[in-house]
């Protein structure tokens, strides 16, 4: 019994080590190998700094939009019985299943030069594809399900008795939402926001199709990693990857803390 238990543990942890832990530790090692000064220089070149801020900017637009929509949509799914609700629920998951390349191409064919809306927008002087709005749209697309998926089950779990009580006692819908609903779902909401942020920062495929990859203009951090790699600037690619891996680890830490708080609350 103990022998088989140990064997199971060994196999499971060994698999995790080979697939997960060793590679990520290795990339951090590779990042720091040239020494901190070289790494710092590599992630503070004008292109890298611009890529960093563009990534932050895109996330700063996409994540609040995702959160707002996610909250409205979760309320609809958990609290109303509108016909067509189940169709909506099924469609929410779509971005999880669609390949990033397909997402990018779809946006390209809608807003691009030959797309449905492209010519009209071009006449109005709005450029979406090969420009920041396209990157934002791609990011919003891929992030769409995260908040809904985390908040809906929590809303269903807590039920609506407290909300009804508040309404009976004369609270307005907004007061009920702010004082009852929002505190009840806050950890689920926080978890969804963290997941969406991580995805927004790390999105590559969809952004890769719509950005045009102009260095210093439409190049995000993940695109910078790819470009440096294909230009044989391995140390530079590792440095940018290390930065992204550090963000990922911070995300993981946030997720763990939120999970623990959510379990306690």
């Amino acid at each position: 019994m103990t022998a088989s238990r140990l064997a199971l543990r060994f196999v499971a942890l060994g698999y995790l080590a080979a697939i997960l832990v060793v590679p990520v530790a290795f990339i951090l090692y590779k990042t720091l190998e040239p020494g901190p000064a070289a790494v710092w220089r590599s992630i503070t070149t004008p292109a890298a700094v611009h890529a960093f801020w563009l990534t932050i900017e895109v996330a700063a637009i996409a994540v609040p939009l995702t959160t707002l929509f996610g909250m409205v949509c979760a309320l609809v799914l958990a609290r109303t019985r509108v016909p067509g609700r189940s169709v909506l629920e099924a469609l929410i998951d779509l971005p999880f299943a669609v390949s990033p390349v397909v997402i990018g191409l779809a946006l390209f064919l809608l807003y691009g030069r030959e797309g449905w809306l492209g010519p009209t927008l071009a006449e109005a002087g709005i450029q979406v594809i090969f420009s920041v709005p396209g990157i934002v749209l791609a990011t919003v697309f891929v992030c769409l399900p995260f908040v809904v998926r985390e908040v809906t089950p929590v809303l269903r779990e807590v039920g609506d008795e407290a909300e009804q009580a508040a309404t009976t006692l004369g609270a307005s819908p907004w007061q009920t939402f702010r004082r009852i609903t929002l505190p009840a779902v806050r950890w689920g909401l926080a978890y969804g926001v963290v997941l969406a942020t991580a995805r927004a920062i790390g999105e590559f495929g969809a952004v890769s199709v719509v950005s045009g990859k102009v260095s210093g203009e439409t190049e995000t951090l993940t695109l910078l990693v790819e470009k440096r790699f294909t230009n044989f600037d391995l140390a530079g690619a590792y440095a940018a990857s290390g930065l992204l891996a550090a963000i990922a680890l911070a995300t993981l830490l946030a997720m763990t803390l939120i999970n623990r708080k959510g379990a306690v609350a």
């Binding site: 909506l88 469609l91 299943a97 990033p100 039920g159 991580a198 590559f204």
Partner: protein, 273 residues
């Protein structure tokens, strides 16, 4: 066994009793509109473009030799990945739930790493580590896909295993069942639903995966080229219509998996409703 398997009692979800009236309809309208503009409209444009030159041309794009080879490789390797991670996922979930060892919570947190790490970084990482031995081979693609789909089965099986009543297993053991028998006859039937949905999501993800594969696969036609990368290369060589046709097949495939999964879940929970 089959129908008599004892399933974990799932908590009945609170039925939404209140009608939000106008506010509910407004919310529904906003949600539907947002979803349509962000998701459905672009996908409609994609489907429209794929049929731009007629059905015959669409069929020719989809059945081009290179496209078929890429699609066959994508499906086969995604199946392999789903199966491997189904087995390893159950094993990992079991160890995380039933075993005690120092650092278990850290390991538990690390499971989500592939969701947090950008895919292109994952690809670069595997390339750096396993470098010359596997780079630009089918093994490299397999490794990358195993990495990005690792959390699905673990995270779907783990809560079910946590909620599983140990008394059933104790009863079976006291009646003389060996640990392997207990696992096969008691634990596994209870986990089947979670394993299938986790593996299906892993499959859907693997089929569309791009970022982790693009650097490490070498994109060799008829060898390591996956459909997502093939479609990307078609876009780059200015063949948007061909790329759209291939993308539509990829879209249909992942939609099919999602629908099948939903049907399966309804079937599996038919006794709870």
């Amino acid at each position: 066994m089959g129908t008599t398997a004892v399933t974990v009692p799932t908590r009945r979800r609170a039925r939404p009793t209140r009608r939000l009236g106008g506010a509910g309809a407004l919310g529904f309208g906003i949600s539907t509109l947002w979803l349509s503009v962000i998701v459905l409209l672009p996908l409609a444009a994609l489907v429209d473009r794929s049929l731009h030159d007629g059905l015959g041309e669409f069929w020719r794009d989809v059945t081009a030799r290179q496209a078929v080879a890429a699609l066959r490789f994508t499906i086969l390797i995604s199946l392999a990945v789903a199966v491997i991670n189904a087995v390893m996922g159950v094993l990992i979930a079991w160890v995380l739930v039933r075993d005690e060892f120092p650092g278990r919570r850290v390991v538990n947190a690390l499971i989500d790493l592939p969701f947090a790490l950008p895919t292109v970084v994952a690809g670069l990482t595997l390339l750096a580590l396993y470098g010359d031995a596997v780079a630009y081979t089918k093994w490299a693609v397999l490794l990358a896909l195993l990495f990005v789909t690792l959390p699905f089965v673990v995270r779907s099986v783990q809560p079910v295993l946590l909620a599983l009543d140990r008394e059933m297993e104790d009863a079976a053991a006291s009646l003389g069942a060996r640990p392997a028998t207990v696992f096969r006859r008691i634990v596994l039937p209870n986990l089947t639903g979670a394993i299938v949905s986790g593996a299906a999501l892993a499959f859907a993800r693997a089929v569309g995966e791009f970022g982790s594969v693009v650097l490490i696969s070498g994109n060799k036609p008829f060898d390591t080229q996956v459909t997502a990368v093939y479609a990307y290369k078609q876009v780059e060589s200015d063949n948007a219509t061909g790329a759209a046709a291939v993308s539509v097949t990829l879209l249909a495939l992942s939609l099919g998996v999602l629908v099948a999964l939903r049907v399966f879940e309804r079937w599996a929970t038919r006794h709870d409703r």
